[in-house]
């Protein structure tokens, strides 16, 4: 005859000393965390994106604002079109910025932890919401209404909450509050890193046109043999944000095909922005395009081939990196701007059998800027060393002082490098 027994006791007695071995990968994962000490995720993905968007837009706005300032002082007839285009983009950016600001505001309010309650408490019309996990969040947005509809007990009175903060000694309050200081300390151990960067660079224009001559606006153009090499310095401000700078030597080459170059001693004003005098440029695929060149071509020295513009800059970038995901493999968004100092500026005519120096571009500014956007992927080799690859888009501002038509250059590079954290 079987004895009747309380079901609770059956389970208590049987499962009291139960031990079962987990798979090996559990320890492997813990060990990886302990040796790498990756940054912990704490903010939902959409909030990170909205924060990043605001930063990018701010940087971009800064660049555009600076550009506008420059174009006003250099006001030339040819720049008017460009300037008005920028005003449109500036207005668009403002709208986005406003939205971004709201998002940021929300994210700040929503992620307030228990320790920071007093700060948020000072914000207007806050609501104290108790989540099912017994944590309290302080919010002033729609979340409060969601909680209200679920169960009215989740919206709590402010004074009750503050009282419970003082007396709360239960299990969860002992374990739950994230020890922010400790986490930060770990993440902040090695704040600096330095590394090399190498990037093949693709140089092009957003609009058609030629910075060298109006006559060449419709010629086909391509980027060639462009390379950026340099050093990168990175400083980790906190768990999410890094600021990075450095210096890069950027070699850009831009080729215009089907060009006719005609030497003349004629007093007719040159139709181009090259420093070598007495050269008339025209599109060789379009014979009658320039009355001046056709009228003087007979019996004069005439070259036909590719026009190769070679530019070299020293680039000084200042960028913010926002970490989206951080583990052995990390992903971040990068935004910022660069200052370029012109180091080499030359234009060659390349024909089938010779290369002819045509001097340099007279309208290239000696200092110009770019707005930078990109994604950064990194892979940690060990505690100190990591590899990174960053596809970056760099939108050039005030590259040319005048007469560059609609030419709006940008370049795209995939920057890769080995970095050392210290």
């Amino acid at each position: 005859m079987l004895e009747r027994k309380n079901i609770d006791r059956v389970f208590q007695e049987n499962l009291k000393d139960l031990e079962l071995n987990p798979s090996k990968h559990v320890w492997n994962g813990i060990e990886l965390y302990l040796t790498e000490q990756p940054l912990k995720k704490s903010i939902p993905l959409w909030q990170r994106f909205s924060g990043v968007a605001v930063i990018f837009i701010l940087f971009f706005m800064g660049g555009v604002w600076y550009y506008n300032l420059n174009s006003i002082t250099n006001a030339e007839p040819d720049n008017i079109i460009t300037e008005s285009n920028f005003n449109i983009s500036e207005a668009d950016d403002r709208t986005q910025l406003d939205q971004g600001d709201n998002e940021l505001q929300k994210s700040i309010v929503n992620t307030v932890s228990l320790e920071n309650t007093k700060v948020a408490h000072d914000l207007e019309s806050t609501v104290f919401v108790k989540k099912p996990n017994n944590n309290v969040i302080v919010t002033s947005d729609d979340i409060s209404s969601i909680y209200k509809t679920i169960d009215s007990k989740y919206v709590i009175d402010k004074s009750d909450f503050l009282k419970s903060l003082k007396s709360n000694e239960n299990l969860i309050s002992n374990i739950d509050p994230v020890n922010v200081k400790e986490d930060n300390k770990k993440a902040m151990r090695n704040k600096w890193s330095i590394g090399t960067t190498v990037a093949p660079v693709y140089y092009n224009t957003l609009r058609s046109g030629s910075p060298i001559s109006e006559e060449l606006s419709n010629n086909s153009k391509s980027s060639d043999n462009a390379l950026s090499v340099g050093l990168k310095l990175n400083y980790q401000i906190n768990r999410k944000f890094n600021v990075q700078s450095g210096v890069n030597k950027v070699e850009l080459a831009y080729i215009t095909s089907n060009v006719n170059a005609t030497a003349t001693t004629s007093k007719i004003a040159a139709n181009n922005n090259i420093t070598k005098s007495g050269i008339i440029l025209s599109n060789s695929g379009n014979k009658n395009s320039d009355s001046r060149s056709s009228s003087i071509a007979q019996g004069k020295s005439n070259l036909s081939g590719e026009l190769n513009q070679s530019i070299e800059y020293f680039e000084l970038p200042v960028e913010m990196k926002y970490n989206l995901y951080e583990s052995r493999f990390g992903v971040g968004l990068v935004g910022g701007f660069s200052t370029y100092v012109l180091a080499k500026n030359s234009i060659y005519m390349v024909t089938q059998d010779q290369i002819t120096d045509l001097g340099s571009a007279s309208n290239l500014n000696s200092v110009n800027f770019s707005g930078n956007l990109g994604v950064d992927f990194d892979y940690k080799i060990n505690k100190n060393w990591y590899l990174n690859v960053a596809p970056m888009f760099k939108y050039q501002l005030n590259t040319y002082s005048n007469n560059a038509g609609n030419f709006q250059p940008y370049y795209f590079g995939i920057y890769s490098g080995l970095n050392y954290r210290f």
Binding site: I7, V10, F11, L18, V26, W27, I150, N170, I172
Partner: protein, 180 residues
């Protein structure tokens, strides 16, 4: 090396001591995770998260009370955290009589079977049953931990007991019918 010394070394982030602590307690704490989880996979995830929390917050352990008890609380809390994340909107209340006492015929019941039927319980019932019956928390504490009313905790427990009883009895009937 004594446990006390191992804990001190863990506070200094000594990986060998951390490994030793893990291997000393992984068996017991994994069993605990299994009781609170639906699947082995999620139990392993919880165990991993819990140990990361244990090593991250080991400075907060001041040698007051048992270390194993301190770790168990973190494991339970991690399991509850996972439950909360998955069940934010699952707040449907059901009414069952409070405090149903359930008795069953004591029989050879395998550990595997008992563990399996706990894991098969609906999430909330499993949490309440574990916290109350196996880990000795009061309904008042459970109501705080799960964000539910005390009455709900009691009725959830009754419901859990009835489900477990049905499964055990069904199993016993099968065993009787089985050989013939």
């Amino acid at each position: 090396m004594s446990l006390h010394q191992l804990i001190i070394n863990c506070k200094k982030r000594d990986i060998k001591s951390q490994s030793e602590i893990y291997h000393l307690f992984a068996g017991k704490l994994f069993a605990l995770c299994l009781k609170y989880s639906k699947t082995k996979q999620s139990a392993e995830d919880n165990l991993q998260d819990a140990f990361i929390t244990i090593f991250d917050k080991i400075d907060q352990y001041k040698f007051k009370g048992s270390f194993e008890g301190w770790m168990k609380r973190i494991v339970i809390n991690t399991s509850l955290q996972t439950y909360r994340e998955k069940n934010v909107l699952n707040l449907v209340e059901e009414n069952y009589p409070d405090e149903v006492e359930v008795e069953i015929d004591e029989d050879e019941l395998s550990l595997d079977f008992l563990l399996k039927i706990i894991q098969q319980l609906p999430e909330r019932y499993r949490m309440v049953f574990n916290l109350y019956v196996l880990d000795g928390y009061s309904h008042k504490e459970i109501s705080g931990m799960l964000g539910i009313a005390e009455g709900t905790s009691k009725s959830n427990l009754s419901r859990a007991r009835l489900i477990l009883k049905d499964k055990i009895e069904l199993n016993q009937q099968k065993q009787i019918v089985g050989p013939s």
